[in-house]
Symmetry: C2
Subunit: 677 residues, 2 copies
């Protein structure tokens, strides 16, 4: 326990760590980060495309600026309170918190500068520093960062090996594919005005990809990410088929061996990561329970002190009713509380010893809470009971899934066959089919509610999901029916074609999407699929901290990229009539991928992370700025692909294997249990 323990301080501490304050802090940090979307290069336009410049909705400058300084001041106050609570000396030793204070101060200074300059400057350092607050306020994320720092030596050694590999193969490639083998004049001509149609001379490998040392390095670096795979090999391979061996060897060592080594190194570090973090949180909880017991015992001793001082502290326990009253006042989740109180009621007058007290709280650890399903209220009449039994049977559920499946197949066939007419005619077959199926779904759900009874029906999450989707479907169909009439009886075969009725179109789209969403109900019914899905869903829960790291690096790099490359790419209306060389930014119409606003910057970074065609970005920013722009993109590639994606893979594997082992343990222990009887 590191905070001050005075009575008043404790009160402040309790309030400081309360749920409301945490939510408030979260909202403030969230607001601060969301500012990036609306601040000066506002992202509130329909598209970032340079060809159709749409005026973005701008938020007045004083508003964003004042929100920002408000958030910063609140964070400053937050940190000052923390400093007060933890005590000055202890606070100084905590590097993370110290850093936060420094960053806040720097940000405020930067804010004052930018406030005096107006609202249209791009370069603001405080924006890059913002995501620090996300890291500072999550212990799990700090832990991940520490883990990454520990794995750094090995990662760096693999990266060095990778660099050596790249370097040697670059020189090797330059020696193997000399530039001057082709007739250079012809090729250069072609490259300069490629728009003229004419015989296409095939430029040699050396000229195209191994032109200079930098070119060769970048060619092979991009090849390492496979983004230019067959292209870079083609000139040499067309000339001599054994040249492919060079590239295959390069890729095999670099991509399949060294990159996988990187994954292995990072995974090795995170092995047991979840297990240890879970264990430590378990340990902390046990410790807390024990401490609570000691506190309770001592209080009791103080009260009863004079009476049974002879008994001493050897056998003193805590009475059941005391615990019960405390549990009743505490802030535990409802279902745990009910279990605890139920346990306690059975032995109200019992005096708990320390170990028994611990045992009592074991139920805190068990994640799985077996809620009891409300019993089915059977009908009085035996005939109705028969009907009810039919609807309660699992085959009825299967039948529902089958119906949804048939519906989906019909939609698919309709989309494939009559894509156009299905959506523009108000009496198309698709609408008729969907309308009928929606009626069936409604009836199905109604019958289920009747058979199960409200309570039991709602106790199952799947049913809730069904009900919600069905309700939405019914509303959609009623709306479309009220606007465009019932799909049946198209009135003596007159087919109304709404060629531009986007509203009908939207309603039909939504209905179809909802029907598809309904199909997800099938997943829990397929056994092996449900295992994988539960792992994925659980993963999402555990991934909060990872998502935080992702947000931090995306945020910082997006803002940094904006400061470096804003307004670098410009569109000229004369480009409309020009034909560009294949595979360039201009030819591929990548005009919307730029660093002119925050949203677009994030999309560009995502595209580079996905790696495919990232050399297009490398090339265009090199042309528009300088070769130094490579550094930004390569740094981003290293960070995102090498570190973060491998980290993500490692976390998924760790999680899956932990789940798998635990499931096996449960199966084994169940087997052991059944065999012991």
């Amino acid at each position: 326990i590191n905070h001050k323990v005075g009575a008043k301080d404790l009160q402040v501490y309790r309030e400081y760590t309360s749920f409301a304050i945490a939510v408030f802090r979260f909202v403030v940090i969230f607001l601060l980060h969301m500012l990036a979307f609306v601040e000066f290069p506002s992202s509130l336009s329909l598209s970032a495309d340079l060809r159709q410049p749409s005026e973005p909705v701008t938020v007045p400058c004083w508003l964003t600026q004042s929100i920002e300084i408000m958030c910063l001041l609140i964070l400053l106050i937050d940190n000052v309170i923390k400093m007060h609570l933890l005590g000055g000396f202890y606070f100084v030793r905590h590097k993370w918190d110290m850093g936060a204070v420094i960053i806040i101060i720097v940000s405020i200074i930067d804010w004052i500068v930018s406030f005096s300059l107006g609202c249209t400057e791009y370069i603001r350092f405080r924006r890059i520093l913002r995501p620090y607050f996300i890291l500072q306020n999550s212990s799990l994320m700090k832990k991940i960062v520490n883990c990454l720092r520990m794995t750094l030596p090995e990662v760096i050694s693999v990266l060095l090996l990778l660099a050596l590999h790249l370097f040697v193969f670059t020189l090797f490639g330059m020696l193997l594919f000399p530039e001057y083998e082709a007739a250079p004049s012809n090729v250069t001509m072609y490259l300069i005005n490629s728009s003229t149609p004419g015989p296409v001379p095939t430029p040699s490998e050396g000229h195209q990809y191994f032109h200079s040392l930098l070119d060769s390095l970048v060619s092979l670096l991009v090849l390492l990410t496979t983004a230019n795979n067959p292209d870079v090999t083609m000139p040499a391979y067309s000339r001599n088929r054994y040249a492919s061996l060079f590239f295959i060897l390069y890729l095999f060592i670099g991509l399949y061996c060294l990159m996988n080594m990187l994954l292995a190194v990072i995974y090795n570090q995170f092995r047991g990561y979840f297990l240890s973090s879970m264990q430590s949180s378990l340990l902390r909880r046990r410790l807390g329970v024990r401490a609570a017991f000691e506190v309770l015992r001592r209080k009791k001793c103080d009260i009863q002190g004079s009476e049974n001082s002879a008994e001493g502290t050897i056998e003193v326990g805590v009475g059941g009713h005391v615990i019960k009253s405390i549990v009743g006042k505490s802030l535990l989740p409802k279902h745990i509380k009910s279990v605890l109180i139920e346990n306690l009621e059975r032995r109200e007058d019992y005096v708990f010893s320390a170990t028994e007290f611990q045992k009592l709280f074991y139920c805190l650890d068990s994640d799985v809470v077996h809620k009891q399903k409300p019993a089915v209220t059977w009908c009085a009449s035996p005939r109705w009971r028969m009907v009810q039994r039919v609807f309660l049977h699992k085959y009825f559920t299967y039948f529902g899934i089958l119906m949804a499946f048939i519906n989906l197949i019909i939609i698919t066939v309709q989309l494939g066959a009559k894509y156009d007419s299905s959506f523009r005619e108000s009496h198309s077959l698709l609408r008729i089919v969907n309308f009928s199926f929606v009626i069936y779904y409604l009836v199905e759900q109604a019958v289920k509610v009747w058979a199960f009874g409200w309570r039991r029906y709602l106790s199952d999450n799947g049913n809730k999901f069904d009900a919600f989707v069905t309700l939405a479907l019914v509303i959609g169909e009623i709306y479309s029916a009220s606007c465009y009439g019932l799909p049946y009886f198209p009135g003596s075969k007159e087919v109304v074609v709404h060629s531009s009725s986007s509203e009908l179109w939207n309603v039909i789209r939504i209905i179809n999407i909802l029907i598809m969403v309904r199909m997800f109900r099938i997943i829990p019914h397929i056994k092996s699929m449900s295992l994988v899905t539960t792992v994925l869903v659980d993963l999402m829960k555990n991934m909060k901290s990872f998502a935080g790291v992702l947000i931090v690096i995306f945020y910082a790099f997006a803002i940094f990229g904006m400061e470096l490359f804003h307004d670098v790419i410009k569109y000229d209306p004369s480009f409309e009539n020009k034909t560009f060389e294949c595979g360039t930014y201009e030819q591929l119409n990548y005009w919307a991928n730029n660093f002119d606003d925050f949203f677009a910057a994030i999309v560009v970074l995502w595209d580079v992370m996905v790696v495919n065609n990232w050399h297009v970005f490398l090339q265009v920013f090199r042309e528009k700025t300088s070769p130094w722009s490579y550094l930004f993109f390569i740094a981003w590639w290293l960070l995102s692909v090498i570190i973060v994606l491998n980290l993500f893979t490692a976390l998924i594997m760790e999680n899956f294997i932990m789940k798998w082992d635990r499931r096996h343990q449960i199966v084994q222990s169940a087997a052991a249990l059944s065999s012991s009887y």
Copy 2:
């Protein structure tokens, strides 16, 4: 023991399992597989490029055909012997061996058919079946195949989830990006004659990528492999920036979650794979040693039977001298033999019990053999001894590495600065520098040999490597000096430019490459790098079985692809003057990537495995044949990328983690040892 144990059969069995027969079998299988390169669509041309058809060197048909039937007959005989040895009934139960016999018979029938038809047909089923023999003759590979089969249920469930994901997003995408939003007539015009320059209308997302159900499916499947990443998003993203969310969500779930789940599932299956296979081989060896002991003891009992029958079999051991004589006659590797005999000599008259006998052979298990380095023979004269000590010091080695590093930097700078002239002038700076450095290397190695003495010098593998490279360098320099004169003293500044002297060029290239190769010496001196490297090198040793699996699937698919797609793509000389649409097979000059011979087919499969731009292949083979060609490529993608590459990653991780754990164990046990003293 499953084979017959009669005296004569044992003799045959011993010969059957002998090393020579194994090598012979390997050679036969190797020959059989190599045939694919020289058989009818011969790969012995310089290039597979369709634009410059070069007549391949063809091997006469009767030769390949007769080699093939010879190999098949030998394999048949091999299997018949095996059948005889294992006994008919047992053989029938072994599915692998049964399969081999059936395949050989089918192959021979197929061979007879093709022999009567001539030599120019593509479709020969026996070629696809050939790689079966690789699988059949390696127990490790069979084990991997079995492991894969065991992991199949989970893999399939993830694949099903992936298919569901793909399907739902396809429908979703078709609904979100309807085809008819753009003006179709204009776009279709553009697509038909794209060669006409003119205003480029931007086709809508729906029209370009979500045209029909099949198109949408393929677009998103390719997106799942990231091969068309920003391109497929651009039309929609340019129109509305929030469309990117659809694609980001799709990729995040599909690529980063589900694909990683696949890896996790496969890795989970192979966890402990190496450990268990090592343990089982250890167990088998222990069993063998124990069996040998029993045999020896019984023989001794037979001889001494009458004398100490009272003692019975309770305490009977085997005498040391008996073991020694048997060890002397056995076929164990030399260093193990010497250790064994050394151990035995110390206690020649000792009678070994079973456990002691086991202990004796533990040295078989220890992989690490500590060879003693020959001692340095110091010079007599104290002054020379000083000099010798200088050269023996590790700093002298570091100095050598530094020199090599400087040399490499100079080469790099020269390549970067004066790429052209460096290689065409016979008195370029590069040649001068290299010549000087080679002289230094020669001196360095000579000095080392003198200081260490021959034996100690050669006992280190690194020195052997150095000596070899230096020797090659010296030969190269002598050769170039004899042809083009010494690089120094260019004779009153006259610079000879050999513009087309490819020989000088080649010699210089080789010298430079050798100098680079010399740099690899640095790796063992950097600690963390050497760990990673040893893991990689060990990996290569363990990867034999994996390489076998790779060869099997590549071989089978390449031949299958040849049978399906041979001569499908044809080059028309009129294409020379045509401009093709960007991103098509024709525009990218992929002419060398076809299925017209075996080598080219393998390269195409490799390119598809690397995944980038594989949609180009999908597209061209769809156009030239039918949409069913998708099936071939998607099957190959599933097998190679989903199964084999994930398997490779899993094996690398497993190997790395095993190495890592063992190294830690050693470090820990060493620490425990040192602390116990």
